[in-house]
């Protein structure tokens, strides 16, 4: 597995774990009165999630670098650049679609930090889309 494919897996796993936990806590608590969805509690959760994400990505990237031969850690070659371009294009379109979709929660009365969380969810989904697209293209050839 190339270093860049490993990086895509690292992004997928770390974002799923850290922001999966964040949104599970956020949406899971909606049924109770002690949810943080629209309050400052979500900011504390977000900070924890971001710190966990950074820590996990740093650790896993170091492991990936140590387990990849030096030749595989150089500049991206033409195939890797093509995969990056195509996956980011797909992620961009997903993000644009979800951005338009933000009108839906706004229509139903969500405001402020609640809308910020919906926007963050859109960014997370787009990021996961990019990572999955890269992994599929690396596995398939391109």
């Amino acid at each position: 597995m190339s270093f860049r494919e490993k990086s895509a897996w690292i992004t997928l796993v770390s974002v799923l774990i850290c922001f999966g936990a964040y949104f599970a806590e956020l949406f899971g608590g909606l049924a109770s009165d002690q949810h943080h969805f629209g309050g400052l509690g979500s900011l504390h959760l977000l900070l924890l999630s971001v710190l966990a994400l950074v820590a996990l990505q740093v650790i896993l990237t170091i492991v990936a670098a140590l387990t990849t031969p030096k030749a595989g850690r150089g500049l991206a070659d033409e195939r890797e650049r093509l995969i990056q371009l195509r996956s980011q294009s797909l992620g961009y379109h997903v993000l644009m679609l979800l951005a338009v979709g933000l009108f839906a929660p706004a229509f139903f009365g969500h405001r402020g930090i609640e809308m910020a969380n919906f926007a963050l969810l859109a960014v997370v989904i787009a990021t996961l889309t990019v990572a999955v697209a890269q992994i599929v293209m690396f596995r398939r050839g391109v």
């Binding site: 030749a71 595989g72 070659d77 033409e78 195939r79 690396f138 050839g141």
Partner: protein
């Protein structure tokens, strides 16, 4: 989807001192995985990359890649 280009990279590697994919990749400035994808017909290299591969083996482009519909 199979690409309409066949290549003889694997045979040429063996004919040139059993060159590994990694060695070829290093010679042409690509990753081993990209060379593997080219060999397997899963990725079409750029014209520059195709010429670099042919140059490594000291043969013409037609001896490495062929159009196959």
């Amino acid at each position: 989807m199979a690409l309409p280009i066949v290549n003889h990279i694997r045979r040429l590697r063996f004919e040139h001192g059993e060159m590994t994919q990694s060695a070829l990749a290093e010679r042409i400035g690509m990753t081993r995985q990209t060379v593997a994808a080219i060999e397997a017909g899963k990725y079409s290299p750029s014209l520059e990359a195709a010429f670099r591969i042919a140059h490594v083996f000291g043969v013409g482009l037609d001896d490495v890649f062929q159009w196959d519909e």
